[in-house]
Amino acid sequence: MSAAEWPWRSLADAASAVESRAVSPVELTQACLDRIEKVDRAVHAFVSVHAEGALEAARVAERDISAGRYRGPLHGIPVGIKDNYDTVGVPTRNGSQVFTDRMPSSDSTTWALLRDAGAVLLGKTVMSEAAWGVDFPPVRNPWDVRRNPGLSSGGSGAAVAAGMCFMAMGSDTGGSIRIPAGLSGVVGLKATYGRVSKAGVMPHTWSLDNAGPLTRRVEDAALTLRVIAGFDPRDPGSADMPVGDYLASLKKGIRGLRVGVPSEHFWDRIESRVEPVVRQALRELEGAGAQVEEVSIPHMAGALGAILVTEMASVTAWHDTYLRQPDRRAQYTPEVRALMDAGKFVFATDFLKAQRLRRVLIDEVRAAFAGVDVLATPTLPLCGWEVSQSHVEIAGQPEHVLHACWRYTYPWNLTGLPALSVPCGFADGLPVGLQLVGKPFDEATILRVGEAYQQATRWHEQHPADPASSAA
């Protein structure tokens, strides 16, 4: 295999080749750096690339592996990290001018775990300002560079989709791992809240934030989760729960497994080109042996207000220190500053009502899960929109893109359940995602369903044409 082909292979394939020394970490890293050099001028997925540091880390990995000190599947694998993960020696800017000079003094727990597992940091991926707002950075969707690749982890999704790295870490408060996964045709995993430490990841909304990977295959997400999952005393939200072996059941198939499809909310106002693609994916799950049935979650449709007030109040509470400093305040873009100012007008009564509704939703979802093993929904009601659009029209109704794109993902932040987006086809040449939702701490089952789906359909083997050649 030529070096240029490696960036399109899975992390699992690359790991096997590194372990058997069929390819070296330096070759993999150089292939990714070459790919970044070739296409990132059109995609803009990386806010910073650390070529020398990456090559040095790859050389160290190569020496260790040659000396018999192989650490596991992440050893020598080039990855990207979202710009809100603290990384010693590399600026962490949270996508904001406010933090331009911020140089972390300690690593985020998740990056420390990845680094200790031997991962090679290529660079930091672009995110929207403070993971908030709709004034997107200029990240472009590799499938069509005129279009948006998703919300705040858009750089991570685009980097993986364009073959610039084998895995990129994102963060997900209302869908920001799964949304770019859905729009960019890659896999995105938000584990159960508390499963993956968020210590050292700059906060957005304490009770909703999750750290997780974007990859090209489900197996790659499972490999990554095995490294990053676990209790962390640095994170007050961390869950002290046993971590499973996510690979053990991955390829066991889904014969007889029960898949629930919520009848409310998730099929409302969905683009007519998206719905048939996801319905076909459900039939393909049936074809793989699953039993698909409808379930009911009555209060889901009213939950948007709950996440709005939770996020608005929390983001503003964290940023208030900076908003009160005139020089820092001026460094926020007007759009994001206005969103944060608006958060000051969220009433405590509404905030607490939202937290009460979350308990009701959890009870309803638990009831819906009584007869099924996983839930399946579309990841989004729409495909990637053009970067200049602030509003889209779905089923005849105009809607702000922020509201439209997170309608199907935020329920699983409110309830804290694990959710996985897998590519399930295309609509007008743009990727569509299938979202799989599991019971608390049962990431293994959604990964198993996702893997079975990928084996049955192989959408994940498609990748976009060289974005540099299609740049508008």
Partner: protein
Amino acid sequence: MTLPPLKHVADLAGYPLSEADLKQVASILEGMMEDIQKLRDLDLPDDIEPILSFHVDPWEA
């Protein structure tokens, strides 16, 4: 939403904002109000407590 009442609320709350900032805030709040009103209108059982992240750990001796 008119600005003078919002400005009054902002001043009372200790968040003095410029007129330009207030205009943007008013626009955002107007866009959210329908969904927040839906939340307010929900009739939840009295015994439902809010989910808040607060864990009391034993102190080390």
